[in-house]
């Protein structure tokens, strides 16, 4: 008896989730005013001038953001776990601060405060993205590292004669690779979809450009929305159901 109620809730929820998606998919497959359906709209965005350049810009911003994220967060979190337990609370507080500040507010502050050199370059976005993602990337790395006895592994490696560089590259990084990848994934996802900062700081990135282009072609824009959603789902499903296999530890040598 009980289960009927909960199953009903789930069915209704399912409808609410998938209906807009269905509507959007149907809409996106309309061939203009004709009554037929097709996948033409899905080609539209690729055919717009500005597609490649804007995509490239966003790609470059993403790469820089990922790079910054890595070199700042990974060593810091690693150090915290190995040697800096005392400072964990402090860092936790610091990295959660960006969560409190609305992105719109951050944008106004960035426009005001950041040095000229940076403000003249679209790459200022990379830096800001790292800040905005920080609460999530820190958490991902922290949780990931907590799962491994890093100190023990490091001591063992040092005991066996490894230099610090070796320890870092051949013990620590491979062990925490899943968490690093998770943090990267977060960074990439954010960067590819980020609109607010880019728009307010007057840069044309891929999301901003798409939004503007969408005014001209609703069907095409809807196709893009649907396409990106499905794409994200496929990625995430893959990650969830097949990502677990990646936990091969560094035990080839033993």
């Amino acid at each position: 008896m009980k289960n009927i109620g909960s199953k009903l809730i789930l069915v209704v929820t399912g409808i609410f989730i998938f209906f807009p998606l269905y509507a959007a998919t149907e809409f996106s497959m309309r061939n203009g005013a004709e009554k037929t359906h097709g996948l033409n709209a899905y080609r539209w965005i690729f055919e717009q001038s500005g597609f490649s350049e804007n995509l490239l810009i966003t790609a470059k911003i993403t790469v820089l953001a990922v790079f910054l994220n890595l070199i700042i967060m990974v060593p810091t979190v690693t150090w915290l776990h190995l040697n800096g337990q005392r400072y964990k609370r402090l860092v936790e507080v610091l990295t959660i601060l960006p969560l409190i500040i609305p992105v719109v507010a951050l944008a106004t502050g960035a426009q005001l405060a950041l040095p000229e050199i940076l403000q003249n370059s679209v790459y200022e976005l990379s830096f800001m993205y790292v800040v905005v993602a920080m609460p999530y990337t820190y958490r991902a790395l922290d949780i990931g590292l907590s799962g491994h006895p890093l100190a023990t592994l490091t001591n063992a490696a040092r005991n066996l004669g490894a230099s610090w560089l070796r320890v870092l590259t051949q013990v620590i990084v491979p062990t925490i690779r899943p968490s690093i990848l998770a943090a990267l994934f977060l960074m990439v996802a954010l960067s590819l979809g980020e609109f607010t900062l880019a728009q307010l700081l007057h840069w044309s990135t891929f999301p901003v450009w798409v939004t503007n282009a969408s005014q001209q072609n609703i069907i095409g824009a809807t196709a893009l929305a649907v396409g990106s959603l499905f794409f994200a789902w496929i990625l995430l499903f893959g990650f969830t159901f097949f990502g677990g296999k990646k936990s091969n530890s560094v035990q080839e040598e033993a």
């Binding site: 989730i17 807009p20 070199i71 490091t154 809807t222």
Partner: protein, 303 residues
């Protein structure tokens, strides 16, 4: 004090800026310096600057006049709208989200739960313009639902409904607010040990009494925390609001956006900063308790 003399393990941020032997600056650990510098430049400084400017007159003197303006229309209205939007959207996300999470928890299948977890993850991050377009296709003037209802005689737009409104935003926001609630409350739900339910029953508590005395008190912190998070999300959201309602209703993020784009009287260029400052204050009221609650419940939820 610390660091180089620690007998256990000694690692510094290997590839970060700064050499290995910078020494201490008032006992601040060297490995944390890169992070600290980064946050200072790209976070603390912008926030500090905008706060400072919020209280500056056009001539640069300290003034409360910008802040005072916030309490007058149209800005007062914008704050009222944004806060109300935050609150209502949070409710619309929190309650159904809780019920759905409970329904999910009752299903036994692990694959189903994994499936739900991935979907929730994607949906929770669906926002901005793509989301707006999706809803346009369903609930816009030419949308599927609207047309279908029209064909059976129900003209929603004729009756005054429109997606480009406060209500429309609440509906659209629900699409990611509900999954966020599901994601946040599910760990709290699964932390409800069956032993507690069984103990309560053996001690004489009916199902209702169990929920009132045990279940709800244990879920409350996460629920409240999530509510606060949903509030802050809806309050601060920009892209979707801009896509659907810009020009229609006064919302703080949109007003800031328009000020930044230059649509403002030249006399008040610090107004934008005052607005931003106001946003931060409201957000603080929601996010600080959120963070506090989350840090406390983490203790017994992960046992």
């Amino acid at each position: 004090m610390k660091q180089a003399t620690n007998p256990n393990v000694d690692v510094k941020g290997a590839s970060s800026k700064g050499g290995a032997f910078h020494g201490f600056i008032r006992n601040f650990p060297t490995p944390l310096i890169p992070l600290f510098i980064f946050l200072s430049i790209f976070f603390l400084w912008p926030i500090g600057a905008l706060t400072g400017n919020a209280f500056k007159s056009n001539e640069g003197a300290f003034t409360l006049s910008n802040i005072n303006l916030l309490f007058q229309d149209p800005y007062r209205l914008a704050f009222k709208n944004s806060i109300t939007l935050g609150f209502i959207s949070a409710l619309v996300g929190a309650i159904p989200g809780l019920l759905i999470a409970i329904a999910i928890e009752k299903q036994g299948s692990q694959t189903f739960k994994k499936f739900v977890a991935s979907i929730s993850g994607v949906l929770a991050n669906t926002g901005g313009v793509p989301l707006a377009f999706m809803f346009l296709a369903a609930f816009g003037p030419a949308g599927l639902v609207i047309s279908a209802l029209k064909s059976i005689g129900l003209d929603l737009y004729g009756l005054g409904f429109t997606l480009f409104s406060f209500t429309g935003l609440v509906i659209v926001y629900a699409y990611f607010q509900i999954p966020i609630m599901v994601i946040v409350i599910t760990p709290a739900l699964s932390a409800l040990r069956s032993e507690w339910k069984d103990s309560a029953a053996s001690l004489g508590a009916s199902k209702l009494q169990y929920w009132i005395r045990v279940g709800i008190p244990l879920l409350l912190p996460s629920f409240v925390a999530c509510f606060l998070l949903l509030f802050a999300s809806a309050f601060s959201a920009f892209a979707t609001a801009r896509a659907l309602t810009v020009g229609n209703i006064a919302l703080v993020p949109l007003q800031i956006g328009s000020l930044i784009d230059g649509n403002v009287t030249v006399n008040q260029f610090n107004l934008g900063y005052a607005l931003a400052f106001g946003m931060i204050v409201v957000s603080l009221f929601a996010m600080v308790p959120y963070i506090w609650i989350q840090s406390r419940t983490a203790k017994w939820q992960h046992k």
